[in-house]
Assembly symmetry: C2
Homo-oligomer: 199 residues x 2
């Protein structure tokens, strides 16, 4: 493909169905971690079923009020952007809503990121830089890679300890079986896995 | 700060001076790694001196033609986005120009990313997902953190081997002294360092 004129900006957006979902749910309270993860799994499933991205979603909550601040879904292929993982989408949208790059900055409530598996090599770093105070995941074992074929990349061998050391608490294993069932649905659907360097 | 209405998209842009620079230099050939790094150091210096972001820049080249495809500078604070590192900006803009999330995809020439230091924990992953075939850096030691105060995060202990194993060759030490001199200029300027969770 010939390169087009060199752009000097790019926009990343949620799919229409997710923007509508967000408008409905924004500022609603979701008190339990299970309820939060259930929302995330539902977003991930809808994302691949509607062909708007991979089977990954994330949501940011205000831990004080239990309110939903932002959601994200994987947008790599439709947005033509390999960094448009669900975590980056949700964290960036939460930062736009909060008006700052630092969700742990002055005057901010503690923020929590809920994701449907252990963040990949890139997103582990993105979580730290975002300023969130806690990370909730459905699992962190090899199941994601085994069930879906997606590559998690070279995750730091002590990633959870590194997050904890930097003030981000990690809760693992929330709705793990439900998440694996959704990954199996994705695999059974025969949809594309888009790992890098397929040329 | 009160959260505003929940956004469902966000835009990341280069500063005006960098967009103008890109318009001037796009598609120009820069044959040597030193010439490419010199451009990157100049962009990083201009970025902090004009108060449009931190002292980090990146550029993507088509390795076959030696042409400049995209540039990026750190935009974290002005864009209110902790993921807006120079590497993410340059890689995302190159992907927009190429019309695909995979710079190593079918029909693409080999792409090279040139950055003024070892990518942070997040950007190591971003480099892998981008599809570039090579990474050129000015250095990878503790000098960046020591001279500027910026945190590189939990970089994988075998990051260079992990990149190589995934088909990304790494060239280290290009214009290292010139880069450290620029970091010293940044430190002497007294400008802010924006690491996460400053609240």
């Amino acid at each position: 493909m010939m390169p087009s004129a060199t752009p000097h900006g790019f926009e990343l957006t949620l799919p229409e169905w997710a923007a509508a979902e967000l408008a409905t749910r924004a500022q609603r309270e979701l008190s339990s971690l299970e309820d939060r993860m259930r929302l995330v799994i539902e977003l991930a499933r809808t994302n691949f079923q509607r062909d708007t991205g991979g089977p990954f979603a994330a949501a940011v909550f205000d831990e004080t009020s239990a309110r939903l601040v932002a959601i994200g879904v994987n947008r790599v292929v439709p947005m033509r952007c390999s960094s448009a993982h669900a975590e980056v989408m949700a964290l960036s949208l939460a930062q736009q809503a909060a008006g700052t790059h630092d969700l742990g900055g002055p005057g901010q409530p503690p923020h929590q990121l809920v994701v449907n598996w252990c963040p990949c090599a890139m997103c582990c770093g993105a979580v730290i830089w975002s300023g969130v105070r806690s990370l909730v995941i459905a699992g962190s074992g090899p199941e994601l890679e085994q069930l879906t074929g997606f590559d998690e990349g070279p995750i730091h061998p002590s990633w959870a300890a590194e997050l904890t050391r930097r003030g981000v608490t990690v809760t693992d294993g929330v709705l793990r079986d439900e998440t694996c069932a959704m990954f199996r649905q994705f695999a059974a659907s025969g949809r594309a896995v888009y790992n890098a360097r397929q040329g």
